[in-house]
Symmetry: none
Subunit: 226 residues, 2 copies
DNA sequence: AAATCTTTATAAAATCTTTACACAACATTA
DNA sequence: TAATGTTGTGTAAAGATTTTATAAAGATTT
């Protein structure tokens, strides 16, 4: 079983050592960076489950680092700060920090917050982004779809259509409604678009496109996903 | 299992944080908006189960936001207000607010009101769309019908006819009336259509189509659904 | 140039309409 | 009464029409 990985970005060696001991004795795998630059490179090469970020780094303002990380990193970032400055904390939370801790901190509290943040990560993965229908696994935020754990290649429109279907499992969606959602108002009469795209989608996701199990046609009305 | 989603629209970060902690620790998924504009965009892109709306927003009067949301959003909106102003509350309720809370509020009370509002949402969903007659389960918006939890395949006209019957349980509907409702004015004499379609419907929904329990013929007059 | 989207054409499938006929209930007539 | 006709209903199936699926050619975007 793989250990959960945590990246520490802090310039003080004593703090890093303290965190390393606390975390490794709790079965986390620890990565360390001394500077902002080094931390961003490490995170990019090997995205950890959680980042502990010191807001008072020497080479770059911590808020800048946070923003930069948040532009692509969507798991938990816990801020470490020497000062109990509310303004700083609010700013960090607004910039996407998951939580914050003021130094000096108690190890028990640190660990509790880390557990909580990681739990939320994993719930987010399970709940928000991916929908599962038998052999199909649709990740709405990553915009990827797997069939039997095999990644499929869909075009943008195909994915939009599939996402609409998946969000309305079991419900009959009329041609007009689908066209309005995917192509916009004014396209409600272009039912042929729909036929073509349902065709390509079926070819990609159905075992037997002639006898579709997922995208069911409701003649005269629209389609239903199941 | 998906978490229930709640959108907070409030300009005060402390209040948002407080609400976030209270709600997330009670297994809700929280979305946040700092401004009215941002809140409306978020709600439109991803309609939540409930909205917590601060009536005292900086960029737009809360009452205006409420009206705008209510023009298309039909789930619960709970108003948050710093002032215990009866006039304001009455106005908000008139504009479609589900409930209100005055700051500072107790977390326990907030949670209780949220549970209550969400419960009402879900009852509304259940009541509006599906009709149940013994082993038959008819979902009017999804346009699906289940017999003993088994999905049946009906054509469009068959479903329309069944829906008309189901909406008029126990009542005798004349041939003319049914024909006018399903096929339109000018088809009132085509009683043979009706015989054919009642036949196919019975074949699909009745245990024994020769001795129908649901679609009863009233000779010389029409049919009755029970 | 490659990928994607939009149109067009046509074949196939599903659905609806119409016709034919059987059967039952009831009324009429020899 | 028995035979016959009338009317309303149900069922099957042929015919007509509508709707859908698919390929592939153009147009557009990346």
């Amino acid at each position: 079983m793989n250990k959960i990985e945590i990246l520490i970005i802090d310039d003080e060696p004593q703090i890093r050592k303290l965190l390393e001991i606390a975390l490794e004795s709790n079965e986390y795998k620890v990565w360390q960076a001394e500077t902002a630059k080094e931390g961003i490179v490490l995170a990019a090469n090997h995205p950890p489950e959680l980042i502990l970020l010191d807001i008072g780094l020497p080479d770059k303002n911590g808020h800048e680092v946070l923003k930069e990380l948040r532009s692509w990193y969507n798991k938990s970032i816990i801020i470490l700060s020497v000062i109990n400055n509310e303004e700083d904390i609010v700013k960090a939370l607004d910039n996407g920090a998951t939580d914050y801790l003021t130094k000096p901190f108690r190890t028990a509290e640190l660990l509790a917050r880390i557990r909580s943040a990681i739990r939320r990560n994993q719930q987010a993965i399970n709940n928000d982004t991916t929908l599962i229908f038998n052999e199909l696994q649709i990740d709405l935020t990553a915009r990827t779809i797997k069939k039997n754990n095999q990644l499929l290649k869909l075009t943008s429109t195909e994915f939009n259509l599939l996402a609409l279907f998946a969000n309305n499992e079991g419900r009959v969606l009329t041609h007009q409604h689908i066209l309005k959602e995917i192509w916009g108002v004014g396209f409600q009469t272009e039912t042929q678009y729909l036929r073509v795209f349902v065709g390509t989608l079926r070819k990609k996701i159905e075992d037997n496109p002639n006898q579709p199990k997922h995208i069911i046609t409701e003649s005269g009305i629209g389609y239903r996903f199941q």
